[in-house]
Amino acid sequence: MEQLENFRQEVKSWLDENCPASMRNGADPTIPTDEVWGGRKAQYKNPESKIWLDRMGQKGWTMPTVAKEYGGGGLSKEEVKILNEEMWMIGAKGPLLSFGIWMLAPVLLEYGTEEQKKEHLPKIIKGEIRWCQGYSEPGSGSDLASLATKAEDIGEHFLVNGQKVWTSYADKADWIFALVRTGPKEPKHDGISFLLIDMETQGVSTKPITLISGKSPFCETFFDDVKVTKANLIGELNAGWTIAKVLLQHEREFISKFGLASAMGSSGKDIVSLAKEHLGEENGKISNGFYRSEITAHKIKEHAFGLTLKRAGDEGGKASPTASMFKLYGTEHNKKRHELMVSVAGINGVAWDGDEFDDNEKNLTKSWLRTKGNSLEGGTSEVQLNVISKRVLGLPS
């Protein structure tokens, strides 16, 4: 216990000295905020965002449980809990958003060689390299295993040709982890490999995709005779499907957390404030019994979901097919949240343009439309139900 207490004191003083003023409670609201994804192309409106990332990255505290030899913090579970508590106490901002952390690192730790771990993990942890995910193709979405991007064996290298779609932030990423076909098309699951590719390699190009919300992270990614060293193959040749599925579990775990995170959507207002504004307020209550009831029921579900996510996290263990339960629930809940917000805002909830509507209202409409994609991206709700029925409930297929 004393050891942990000492650790807590160390963390407290380190945070005190190293967490910049704009990255904690009491931050000056006029200072612009950055969404910090790191990478070679990163730009910062607030230089303290980069300073904070560098300091936390140096400590390895962006991935606190990963071993120090790979650049991680080397902390125990109890120590991570203390770190999170102390960061929460000062309202410290998370230093790094990262597909590398959420999806690739767990897979590297389980399937990568020592060389690959030492090469890639430190850069992920420090936010030096930004990753994107090359899974879906125009002809292979829900039936991902039918993917056709080919990686031909040409000696020391693979020659990659094909196309990926819905690649989030491909135009901003430095490297991509891609599923490629290295074996025959049948049986389709046995011909897939997991390959890391530098986006700067000759022959790689991207094109952004715009959604109805006006913006989206999605891109198309093209591979035209791209030469990739065989050292970038993760795991065994043609054994990539298993790795792909493990990664998807990690992805679905992190998507579930967004079921809670986007409680405000992009409207800038939480649903209760929105309701009071549009429906009126009496004695501190929303003056509409129907909506009080709907909003309360919604918040109860949200609270229960948050507690269940926390319990799953505390119970630890590896990512599993249960991640599909959380992804399914979190995304459907987020869609309902936005439906409810639009309903609460009445006619103003479907504002598209014009001066009669303020920016919050127009953003609310666009956010609502964007959530339609939530039950498609990261594996459709139908795919999640398939996983749950087969892998969690063991129902016969």
């Binding site: 549009h278 429906l279 009445g346 006619i347």
Partner: protein, 159 residues
């Protein structure tokens, strides 16, 4: 309203279908939306609807209407909806016509209903005062002064 249309109702539906697909396909809506004039509807199109008798469908024959009833106007509205046809049909031939026919005095019916049938006037229903429909909380006022109503207030989303 029976779900199976009688001969007259089917005729109305067929007429409305060819009208809306030929004269007001979705592109018509889009070009109005994108025009700088911010027209709400095309005046010539409305006149053609009037000539077809659509403005008088809910209005009794004594005022010049055809009294085909709700079933009749509904089939027309359905076809208009399919191509997003912008027109004052709903506001005038449905809402205005219905309100005056059922709640107007004889004098009001005689004055306004024939003008709706002829297309001389269009009407709009002004109830909502905010983003939600809440007639109980009406702030808009009509005060009698010198034998007239003096109106004060604001209405939103009148259609």
């Amino acid at each position: 309203m029976k779900l199976i249309l009688n001969e007259e109702q089917q005729f109305l539906k067929d007429t409305a279908k060819s009208f809306t697909t030929e004269k007001t396909p979705v592109n018509h809506f889009r070009s109005l939306r994108d025009s700088d004039d911010h027209l709400l509807w095309d005046k010539e199109i409305w006149q053609e609807m009037v000539n077809l008798g659509w403005s008088g469908i809910l209005i009794p024959e004594e005022f010049g209407g055809s009294n085909f009833g709700v079933a009749g106007i509904s089939t027309i509205m359905q076809e208009c909806g399919k191509t997003l046809t912008p027109s004052p049909l709903f506001a005038t031939a449905v809402l205005g016509a219905f309100a005056i026919t059922h709640f107007g005095s004889q004098a009001q019916k005689e004055e306004f209903l024939p003008k709706i049938v002829s297309g001389e006037i269009t009407t709009a229903l002004a109830i909502d005062e905010s983003s939600h429909h809440n007639p109980a909380k009406t702030a808009f006022s009509a005060i009698i002064k010198d034998n007239e109503y003096v109106l004060n207030g604001k209405k939103d989303f009148c259609c």
